[in-house]
């Protein structure tokens, strides 16, 4: 069984200097209630692994953390939607590491699934490839970049419906990085719109054995 805790209890698990993974894609499928509570704790020097740098509209919790200066290092694929991220990056107040979106998904999955890395053609011959010091490995005459695994201290994920065991399913495009991130952290928090007794075993997207804590994020 996953333990059900409050948004404040979930937020209190995040400590200064931790590396956290945050699910969501711009304003869809992010664990905003927990992120908002983290913003309120004032925790700092976080390294955040996420798809993007949040979106400065709606109630975007990732944007809030960044805006507050609580993030020391952002590892993401796209930051253009939140101009503040680029400004902080250029001003040197926040370090930003850009990763191709598909490579980020595989790096997190590799971290969660015990792989030492994956070989991808993505990024070859670009600033995120050899130039960034990544190893080039040739398989059957074709070159690939070795993308190493990523893990975090805590993954903060969103789910549409979660059960008492932590099993989770999704509606719409809310899965995004939530599914792989739930595999790749020492502690996994699942913020759900709805918590039910038990989901159908055929319909589960994130397995309950991955989830440590369930948080009621409130129905949308």
């Amino acid at each position: 069984m996953a333990k059900q805790i409050s948004v404040q209890e979930a937020a209190a698990l995040v400590k200064d200097g931790m590396t956290i993974m945050v699910g969501g894609f711009l304003s869809v499928g992010g664990p905003n209630a927990v992120l908002h509570a983290i913003a309120e704790t004032g925790v700092k020097d976080l390294t955040v692994i996420a798809n993007d740098g949040g979106q400065p509209r709606f109630e975007n919790g990732l944007h809030e953390l960044i805006h507050n200066g609580q993030v020391k290092h952002l590892i993401a694929t796209h930051i253009g939607v939140n101009p503040e991220v680029g400004q902080m990056m250029n001003a040197g107040t926040m370090k930003v590491t850009l990763v191709p979106q598909g490579s980020l998904a595989e790096k997190v999955r590799a971290g969660g699934y015990g792989l030492g890395g994956v070989l991808t053609p993505t990024g070859l011959g670009t600033p995120v490839g050899e130039e960034a010091g990544k190893e080039v490995i040739t398989v059957n005459g074709k070159e690939y970049l070795l993308e190493e695994p990523l893990r975090a201290d805590i993954a903060i994920c969103y789910g549409t419906t979660t059960d008492a065991y932590g099993n989770t399913k999704y509606h719409g495009t809310t899965r995004n990085f939530n599914t792989v991130m739930a595999t790749a952290a020492d502690v996994v928090i699942m913020q759900a719109d709805q918590i039910v007794d038990m989901l159908d075993a055929d319909e589960i997207i994130v397995q309950g054995i991955l989830v440590d804590y369930v948080v009621d994020g409130g129905a949308k």
Partner: protein
């Protein structure tokens, strides 16, 4: 050509690249105009890298589902037969060659088909998002863009900006014409009758061959 018509003109021509059943990923902006120009007998499956294999049109305001967006974060819908997917699956489909074509904009393209579209160091840093995977994974990579940027060529001998990927572009569609990227370099295969071949060459820094079969864009 009238500035206000350029994007629609490019999108309309790009729409002719697809056959019924193709799986296509469309970049933000101009490429999203393509579906409205598809012939009635051509239905493409839109892959949205944020989580749909089979995206539908932008919903009417009263039909918006906040849990369904496109890769730009805008409200979207699922098409009949579409499937919601996570990011690892989405890019597996893209990287694995299950997407027939991607259409996207560019800052620069060069003679070898190298593409730069994700960063202007020190100025614009949007990040590559899914672009690097898309241009490596999709079978056809079509750049759909205005031919020049404030009068400066964007089709160059060699890209000067950091690359998105090497030798990935297969075709360039602009308001001036259609250029195939071949082993022998760039070949103008179709032209907008409002321009002459010399007009196109003058707006192109790269060496531009002209197809002996040069056609007029209809």
């Amino acid at each position: 050509m009238d500035k206000g018509e350029i994007k629609a003109y490019i999108a309309k021509r790009a729409a002719k690249e697809f056959k019924d059943g193709d799986v296509v990923n469309l970049g933000i902006g101009l490429p999203t105009m393509i579906p409205s120009f598809l012939p009635a007998d051509v239905k493409v499956v839109l892959e949205a890298e944020n989580g749909m294999a089979g995206a539908g049109p932008k919903p009417a305001a009263e039909d918006v589902d906040l849990c369904v967006s496109d890769a730009g974060g805008q409200p979207s819908s699922i098409a009949p037969g579409g499937a919601f997917i996570d990011s690892a699956t989405s890019f597996g489909l893209i990287r694995g060659g299950h997407v027939d074509a991607t259409v996207l904009g560019a800052l620069q393209v060069d003679e070898k088909g190298n593409l730069a579209n994700w960063i202007i160091p020190g100025k614009m840093v949007p990040g590559m998002g899914g672009a690097m995977d898309l241009v490596v994974g999709a079978s056809n990579v079509i750049v759909a863009m205005e031919h020049t940027q404030k009068g400066n060529p964007k089709i160059l001998k060699q890209c000067t900006l950091p690359l998105t990927a090497k030798t990935c572009v297969t075709k360039i569609i602009t308001e001036m014409g259609v250029i195939d990227v071949t082993d022998e370099g760039l070949v103008l295969v179709e032209i907008n009758p409002e321009f002459s071949v010399d007009d196109v060459k003058a707006a192109t820094e790269a060496e531009l061959k002209v197809s002996p079969d040069l056609k007029t864009i209809e």
